[in-house]
């Protein structure tokens, strides 16, 4: 394919949308971004970023194993990520968002062990399936060219289910995330809510892995949410902002990947990180100005 970036933005967008694979990439990317933006907001609030990263990495042996066995990689992603979420939830202390207020600390040692094991399995499956090494990059860093119609449908179903469950548990989840002891005393089933959330996180990570690759899922799960919570301390507004930022970053990242030789994972990560830096700078500036106003 030959693509040329011109100064005419409308022509560029039209060119981009004239490819079916690009339409699919945008559809899939949008679904994944909405889900990751929303689920990621709670991940950041609960300080479960490491768990999120681990679940994303677990998708890699899942996909590699599925390809080795000759089934669709989607099964591998969803199967492994959701199973991984349940395993981490069952591990002592693994699924807890920290015992302190605001969800401090997590059982990183346990989760880290799971992550190392997952990576090792992934590379084992890759080496067992000899002809497959060219696909390794895509599994790890994502691709915009490979999204099939049926994959978009699967992503959509999983995404809608994810969001529906998230909306249903959002308020108790917020409660449990910032103040687990009082939530438990108020009758919130803390452990159940935590486990359901981990399954949602696994599902989101599995979906995102198929677009950005296993190693860069993080860009969509953590950066938009962290950016949003820099910008506002209102939880539901933050949730919405996080989704918005994730979608923008994904659209731009896919467009840049289309017009450049670099993989989508790189662009999405770079843009998401840029947004985070901007928001942090804005936060610092506002703090400094605020302090000057107070001291003046």
């Amino acid at each position: 394919m030959s693509v040329d970036l011109t100064w005419d933005l409308v022509a560029d967008v039209r060119q981009l949308l004239s490819y079916h694979f690009m339409l699919n990439a945008l559809r899939a990317g949008t679904i994944v971004a909405v889900v990751c933006g929303a689920i990621g907001y709670f991940m950041v609030l609960r300080r479960q970023s490491f768990v999120g990263h681990t679940l994303a990495v677990i998708g890699f042996p899942g996909a590699a194993g599925a390809i080795w066995l000759g089934v669709s990689s989607g099964f591998g992603y969803y199967g492994f990520c959701i199973a991984g979420a349940l395993v981490i939830a069952a591990l002592p202390g693994g699924g807890r968002a920290g015992s302190g207020l605001g969800g401090a600390g997590e059982e990183s040692a346990v989760v880290g062990t799971v992550q190392g094991f997952a990576l090792a399995c992934g590379f084992l499956f890759v080496s067992l399936y000899k002809g497959f090494l060219s696909g390794l990059n895509n599994l790890l860093f994502g691709t915009i060219t490979g999204v099939a119609d049926h994959q978009v449908i699967t992503l959509l179903i999983a995404g809608v289910l994810c969001l529906a469950v998230l909306v249903a548990i959002a308020r108790p989840l917020l409660f449990v995330s910032v103040d687990p002891d009082v939530a438990r005393a108020s009758g919130v089933p803390v452990r159940l809510v935590g486990t359901v959330y981990l399954v949602l996180l696994g599902t989101a990570a599995a979906g995102a892995s198929q677009i950005t690759g296993s190693l860069l899922v993080f860009a969509l799960l953590v950066a938009p949410a962290a950016t949003a919570s820099r910008l506002t301390a209102r939880p539901y507004l933050g949730l919405g902002l996080s989704v918005l930022i994730a979608v923008l970053v994904t659209w731009l990242g896919e467009a840049f990947a289309f017009f450049s030789p670099y993989p989508i994972g790189f662009w999405v990560t770079t843009l998401a990180f840029g947004a985070y830096l901007l928001a942090t700078g804005y936060g610092l500036l506002r703090e400094r100005l605020g302090r000057r106003l107070v001291t003046a």
Binding site: L45, G102, L174, V178, D181, S186, R234
Partner: protein, 268 residues
């Protein structure tokens, strides 16, 4: 007066070990009661038993006329804790609001859409925030509030459902002396004006001593309960803690406990 809390030869075991047993006591509506005792003696466990979070291993307990754990909607709880992580980017108002409906599934509808129920909820949040005097900082991320400010917001959260019993686990810990005095006075005001019974675990009894109706001392696996003048005596305290403790009177005639072990030491 009716008893909000009644223990009859109650006992609790955690992980197979009996923490305390044979505890019988009564707390009446609107009473301000302190729970004192050395570290690890089971003060927090007593509060958790009241909330039904830790089951009794023996005896009986009635909370607000019902079994523990069945009436937590009528109890305000402030667990023992450290401060919020400074990076917690959630506003104080949101934390207070969670005390009202945080256990309900779904999400609250935004602004107008929530209708009159939403308006009432917002008014109630404002009301308790004003009651504890947290209006100036309730809109800030709670992680950036000082320890005393966080404690006031959490007390507002505990008060939001109009509880009949407040269960506070070391709310004065980690506060400086000025804040200890003002938060104690706030709890006393709430106790008197709303007729809420208060069960407060304290490490250092002095800031609340003038306000107390009853004192519960936990020690040696059992409990002693009585009015402060009877329980807070040099002999009783020395016996309960096992180290010499003096009880003096200051110029205003108020009791002061001196030599209480680990009054400012590390806590669990």
């Amino acid at each position: 007066m009716s008893a909000v809390l009644e223990l009859d030869r109650a006992a609790v075991a955690v992980a197979g070990r009996t923490i305390w047993s044979g505890v019988s006591l009564q707390v009446q509506a609107g009473e301000f009661v302190a729970i004192l005792g050395p570290n690890g003696v089971g003060k927090s466990t007593l509060l958790k038993a009241v909330l039904g979070l830790t089951p009794l291993s023996g005896g009986a307990m009635t909370v607000l006329g019902d079994r523990p754990g069945h009436v937590n909607g009528r109890i305000g709880y402030l667990p023992q804790r450290r401060a919020f992580d400074p990076n917690t980017r959630v506003r104080g108002v949101d934390i207070v609001r969670l005390g009202l409906d945080g256990d309900r599934w779904g999400v609250p509808l935004p602004g107008r859409l929530a209708g009159s129920a939403g308006r009432r909820a917002r008014e109630r949040v404002e009301e308790v925030i004003a009651l504890v005097g947290a209006g100036a900082y309730a809109g800030r991320p709670i992680g950036q509030c000082s320890g005393g400010e966080q404690q006031r917001l959490l007390i507002a959260q505990a008060l939001i459902r109009g509880p009949e019993l407040l269960v506070l686990d070391e709310p004065l810990d980690s506060l400086d002396v000025t804040n200890q005095a003002s938060v104690s006075a706030l709890i006393r005001d709430v106790c008197r004006s709303q007729n809420v019974a208060v069960l407060l675990v304290a490490h250092d009894v002095n800031p609340i001593l003038p306000y107390l109706d009853q004192v519960i001392y936990l020690a040696h696996g059992g409990a002693v309960m009585g009015p402060p003048e009877e329980v807070i005596t040099a002999d009783t305290l020395t016996m309960l803690y096992g180290t010499p403790i003096d009880v003096l009177r200051d110029r205003a005639g108020r009791l002061v406990v001196v030599g209480q072990p680990d009054a400012h030491a590390e806590h669990r």
